[in-house]
Amino acid sequence: MKRRFGFLVAAVLVLSMMLSACSGGNSNNGGANEAANGGSENNGAPAAGEKITLSYWTLFSGGDGENMDALIAEFNKTHPNIEIKNTKLEWAEYYTKLITAVGNGNGPDIGISHVTGLDDVADAAGVDWGTYNENLLNATVVDGKHYAVPIDTHPLIMYYNKKLLRDAGLLGEDGKPVLEQSADGFTTFLSTLKEKLPSSVTPFAFESKDQDPYRLWWSLYKQQGGNDVISEDQKSAEIDADKAAKAAGYIQDLYVKGFIKKNDPDFYKTFQSGAGAITMTGVWATGTWESTKGLEFGAMPIPKIFDQEATWGDSHTIVLPVTKDEDPAKRQAALTFANWVADNGQIWAKAGHIPSKPAVIEKQEFKDMPYRSDYVAVADTVAFGNPSTKSWQIRDLAIVKYLNEVWANKMTPADAIAKMQPEIQKVIDQ
């Protein structure tokens, strides 16, 4: 996943992939890119009676896009009776596309109500929910019903530059950082880095605004056992002000103390070029670092700053939107595909994602990929927010913009949190 332009930095919704069970020709996006399917165009035409064609709407670009193409090609090859047609949508403005495409004039708003339950066809499709990571699966269950198939999780993790840590005397014999898992411990760790390393090296390569600091804030908030920012019935803002302010205050300190290069326009490059000792971002960066020549790095879960382990994370999930003709055969085929993708998570994991099935993590193919095993355990401690149709609006319109002020040291954590509360309520009420 590339971090691209502003529209989309927003965006990893729970509903980030649409598997539509309507037939391919039906799609009102007929002109879109179907080249992804390579040569396998319609050579199954004679067997029209048998073959089920599914159109698949994805929003992946770059490495993710290629890995998904590989998965689809493999699936089409091994499942002669099902053909998946991939329509790639662009990240930019995908939200608009999603609601207009899925809504299709049928329902009120995009959301869980637009997604059908999966339980009726799950057995027939050979889905065993028990094989999925429980924590990830729980985030897709509403009122005891399954609504989505999680294929991965992509949490916030910490990466460190081994060479720089070694220079600062903070790399242990085992090649892991010498870091006490506590609020003071992490601060001490960073101040040691700042002291011991040349001034051209920033101890903590990190973004100064928007998504990644938000993710860290969410993690630290959850590490104190903070409840979700909205109530379970999605009707009221319920941010736990003390804990939220404490988390924000801790991170603000990191900026104020100069551990983070101020307003770094490109902290990826800072870390990549060896000018940053540690960084925190989503697991999707693993692939990027791997392909960087001369970067000797390690990966680990973000430190436990407060009481319990918790990390921001999200999942790519496959959902079936409501369609006019609810053809069970197609829905079953769709679910077969989703389950198969989860079963073959090692291909998907190339970008860095953690597979959603513990069994995949045990596969030799997965173990052979370096780094991943160092952070797979995070899957159990990812703290998801309550599923909400407005989750990204709440984040971007009500939370992130105030946190940004805290990071810039223009607002106190307590003030910022106090301002968020009514803004969140406003978004919910709209």
Partner: protein, 294 residues
Amino acid sequence: MQMNRWRADAQALLFLLPFLVVYVVFTIWPMIKGLEMSFYKWTLIKKMKYVGLDNYNQMLQDTAFWSAVWHSLLFVILSTPAMIVLAIVLALIANRRSRLQKFYRSVFFLPSILSVAVASFLGLFIFQPYTGLLNTLLHLIGLLPDNKEIFWLNETNLAWIAVTLLTLWWTVGFNFILYLSAMQDIPEDVYEAARLDGANDSQIFWRITLPMLSGITKTITMLQIIASFKVFLQIYIMTGGGPLDQTRPIIQYIWQTGFRENNLGYASAMSYMLFVILLVLSAFQYWLNNRKGA
């Protein structure tokens, strides 16, 4: 030349028809449709329910809306005088008799043909800290200490300066051309007469050139106010409307409301307000001009 009346009507209709079709369907009809939408809760997917004046009431109480209106106005205030002064200066330069006349004309106008997206990204890269063009330039000529950075796009006041400078560079060319052709329309003998009377260059400029440009200045002022009020993409790309929405212009707010918050009804109500504001701006301008002219 007695043309049949009906025939004339038919011919006129035939000639006007293609224009009228697109005009009615894509300008007039949306104008009416927008009014309808503003009375509804209306999402990207469909019309939801009639809400009467709710959207308008919400707008009156929405501080984010009014501050966005203010930001667009602020941009008008910042950019319009600068646009006019700079355009006159550039036109004076390019109007001087010199071998470089044509060169100046091309160079001053060249940025204006850039696509708004290209100009905006150039703006972003010019004003970025650490590696941006401006900061590295300031470092090089010693105006900025090596260990210091100016965060142009992170501080509200600096961000306005950055956006205004970028917009000046990018669009002043249009005003420049208007001034230049107006200057070239001033008859040479007017200058000659003034010189014979012993006027120096600065007197000629203040007493002759500038007054003779007053007509085009009025026009440019009006066009520029409207154009500046509609600012969007350069701000969106350079600052995202931040920090804390302090640079978010009205068009961005309307777009966000409609397409990110999925609320076309409210966005339509705000669009109507935008229309009214622009109308008032033009009317005010018209009144000013006519009052002075009278």
